[in-house]
Symmetry: C2
Subunit: 188 residues, 2 copies
């Protein structure tokens, strides 16, 4: 596949907890690492980590700095290569504005969800749009997923990653990896 224009955003606020209440979640180390490594593998341009909490941004910044500029760069340069894709941002609106500026055009904002949503776009259709180099921003929610208000503001939502039954509790790290593979990977 030729170069794609795809960004990923991991949203920590607004997301829902297990009771469906809107919350802000904490940044976790492996969400940064695993999703950055998948983003680098599949040619994602920027991996946005979205949290409005200054302390959480500071924590993420320290982790990224260790691997991109600090001792980690020497110990495992492949890891810094992946984590250098990360940009920290406070709100989804800021991310959308930044991607529009970067690509100089409108950007399709596509949500993901473990539960079926309205206005879904199939994986193959999304793949075709990426092949046509239409810029896209793919949103993943931490905790129990993106808050309802996010779905009303996006262009489309990808269908849930269904396996072989009705269990749909993948980690966001697994879901992001699988969805990037479905959109960009080539099975051989």
């Amino acid at each position: 596949m030729s170069k794609i224009l795809l960004d990923v955003a991991l949203i920590h606020e607004p997301v829902v907890n297990r009771r469906g209440e809107t919350i802000g979640s904490a940044v976790t180390n492996l969400d940064l690492h695993d999703i950055a490594r998948a983003c680098r593998t599949y040619g994602v341009d920027t991996y946005w980590v979205v949290t409005p909490f200054a302390e959480q941004q500071e924590l993420a910044s320290q982790i990224i700095g260790h691997w991109v500029d600090g001792y980690g760069k020497k110990a495992n340069p492949d890891r810094g290569n992946a984590l250098s894709l990360i940009r920290l941002c406070s709100t989804l609106d800021e991310v959308i504005a930044a991607t529009r500026t970067k690509w100089g055009t409108e950007v399709q904002v596509i949500a993901t969800c473990a539960r079926p949503q309205e206005d879904t776009i199939g994986y193959r259709e999304m793949q075709r749009r990426l092949e046509k180099q239409q810029p896209a921003l793919l949103l993943f929610g931490t905790a129990w997923g993106l808050a309802p208000e996010v779905f009303t503001s996006v262009d489309s939502t990808l269908p849930p990653v269904n396996g072989s039954g009705d269990y749909n509790h993948l980690s966001v790290r697994s879901a992001a990896s699988i969805i990037l593979d479905r959109l960009v990977g080539e099975r051989v």
Copy 2:
């Protein structure tokens, strides 16, 4: 897809470190959780966690017990549902023997690797074998991957998960999720 006869084994010994030396690695909490959740999603029968170290087995056992029988069962039953797929084992030979006994027949042992190997089997061919209900055991290596001696004893190896470039440093959690999706998932 009808029921598949597929097990997954996560190998902690023998694997290689970044210098290619054969080592035993440590069990990590999120390898248990993320891969168990992916296994449950894709209908895997047993998720074998292989380590010869008694302390590591004890640690894994405590984590699993918390979610399957302890407080975690009440707090998040979906998690226990996934972690209940895990069986601890000391060696790969024990796992192979146990899967043969379970299914009453020979079992294809298929390795995975980020580097190209000989005797590879394509994803589509592997998918066809699973659809024909041929029992299979899929091996994933922790650290820098399975030790060379493992590849000489398996039936085949799946090709590396290639993205859009030459970066091939996915986490084992991501790789296992993607490979299960390629073998069992259905894109819509």
